[in-house]
Each structure stands twice: as structure tokens, then as C-alpha cells.
């Protein structure tokens, strides 16, 4: 298995921590979790990609889907701690401007309460 996923659910938000490689093989596991959280209308979903060392367009597509589902009910969907090579995939596809990207959970929560 090239992926580990942890979910931390709090009253105001859900934090998904992903470790490993997000590709065609592993992205369905991430997608399943995001769909479950959006189904129960999580007020904020933070996806921590700090430990993700590879992401392809399947992973990016999963993030777009999460963002669009959250937007439908005015929820927050943000990405945390992107490594340089993962950030580059978002930049190449010009999606870095579409997503809210924070360095870590602390700054994401700070931005949320502003």
C-alpha cells in the first residue's frame, strides 16, 4: 500500500492527513473519504498534503471534486502543506489560484476565524 490516510474530526472541521503517493491506484480511497465528509456537510475540510510526495491528475481531480462539492453548500475546502513537486502540479494546471492553500492547520484555522 502506497498511501496512509488519517481523519481527525472536530466540531468545526475535518482534517484529512495523507501520507504517500496519490495516483490512479490510491486516489479512489481519498475520494471516498471526501465524498463521505461532504455528504454529511462538513463545515470545513482541510486536506493535509505535507506528507504526499507524489500526486498525479487523478489526485488533482479528486481535490477539484471536493472543492466543488464543498462550494455547493458554502463549506470550506483547503489544502495544507504542499511540497514543492506537488505544488508544481497545481501550478502547471493553473489550479493553484482556484484552491485555498495554507502552510499548516494553524494558519488554516486562523484564516477561517478571520
Amino acid at each position: 500500500m502506497n498511501l496512509e490516510i488519517d481523519i481527525q474530526s472536530e466540531r468545526d472541521y475535518d482534517l484529512i492527513q495523507i501520507k504517500g503517493e496519490v495516483d490512479l491506484y490510491s486516489s479512489p480511497s481519498v475520494r471516498k473519504i471526501i465524498l463521505e465528509l461532504t455528504k454529511k456537510r462538513s463545515p470545513a475540510i482541510f486536506v493535509d498534503l505535507g506528507e504526499v510526495n507524489y500526486m498525479d491528475s487523478s489526485g488533482v481531480a479528486t481535490m477539484i471534486e471536493g472543492l466543488q462539492l464543498c462550494n455547493k453548500y458554502d463549506g470550506v475546502f483547503a489544502l495544507l502543506g504542499l511540497r514543492e513537486n506537488v505544488r508544481e502540479v497545481f501550478e502547471l494546471t493553473r489550479l493553484d489560484k482556484i484552491f485555498t492553500i495554507h502552510q499548516d492547520l494553524e494558519s488554516a484555522l486562523g484564516a477561517k476565524t478571520k
Binding site: 495516483d23 490512479l24 491506484y25 498525479d56 491528475s57 481531480a61 479528486t62 477539484i64 494546471t93
Partner: protein, 135 residues
């Protein structure tokens, strides 16, 4: 004379990690920077992903043959499958202004490789031929 490296997998998404490791090693041999290597790894991964998703419609156990030709000036990569030919619309880079899941793979391939050619023949399947000039 060109050096040749062949890698064959079946269309199982779990094996994409093996392809990525092989491509990274070929890029190291070719002398690309880490940054360029990562983009080539991504381009080949996206091409194989498209074969699994579109040519084989997600069916596992089908052959995907990759050949790398390391010449004096270029790295050539050929990806061969025996699935269904791609629809013409799927071979185009999509408009990035359109925000939707899917369809980014071709854009990522074309933005990294210098030349990308798709050949389909009824008797021998589909070939994606890509080249990238050496550093």
C-alpha cells in the same frame, strides 16, 4: 548507438508505482535535473493512466509496453497498448479555464514533452510516442 530499456506491465493501477520508479531511473541516467525528471515521471504516469482508463476501460491484466530510447540528443519514450483507440477529443489538451475533475493528463504530457505523437492501427493497437531533448 541508442541505449534501449523496456518495461512491460499489465494494466493494474498498483503497478504505476513501478513505472514511475523505472522512469526516474532512466531520467537519472539521461542526466535530467530533479525538477525535469519529476515532470517526465508525471507525463509517463499520465500516459499509462490514460491507457488503463480509456484504452482498456479499467480492465486489469492487459499489456502495456514501454520502451525508452536514450540517444545522443533525445530521450524517446514509446507506450504501446492493445486497447481501444482514443477518441479524438480525448487527445486534445483541455482548456484550463474550465475547472472540472478529469482531462488534465494530456495537458500535463504536452506541457512537459517536446514532441508527442499518437498512432493507432487496427492490427497493432495504439502507440504514444514522446520525445524530450537531453539536458
Amino acid at each position: 548507438m541508442d541505449s534501449r530499456i523496456s518495461v512491460s506491465i499489465t494494466s493494474d493501477p498498483q503497478l504505476l508505482a513501478v513505472v514511475r520508479a523505472a522512469v526516474a531511473k532512466v531520467c537519472e541516467l539521461a542526466g535530467y535535473s530533479d525538477e525535469v525528471s519529476q515532470k517526465i515521471v508525471l507525463a509517463v504516469d499520465e500516459a499509462c493512466t490514460n491507457v488503463i482508463k480509456h484504452a482498456y476501460k479499467g480492465r486489469k491484466g492487459q499489456p502495456i509496453d514501454l520502451e525508452f530510447r536514450l540517444g545522443n540528443r533525445n530521450l524517446g519514450i514509446t507506450i504501446q497498448d492493445h486497447g481501444e483507440p482514443a477518441e479524438k477529443s480525448k487527445l486534445k489538451s483541455r482548456d484550463l479555464k474550465e475547472i472540472r475533475p478529469g482531462g488534465l493528463g494530456v495537458y500535463l504530457i504536452k506541457s512537459t514533452m517536446d514532441r508527442v505523437k499518437y498512432v493507432t492501427k487496427p492490427d497493432s493497437g495504439n502507440q504514444l510516442i514522446m520525445t524530450k531533448s537531453l539536458p
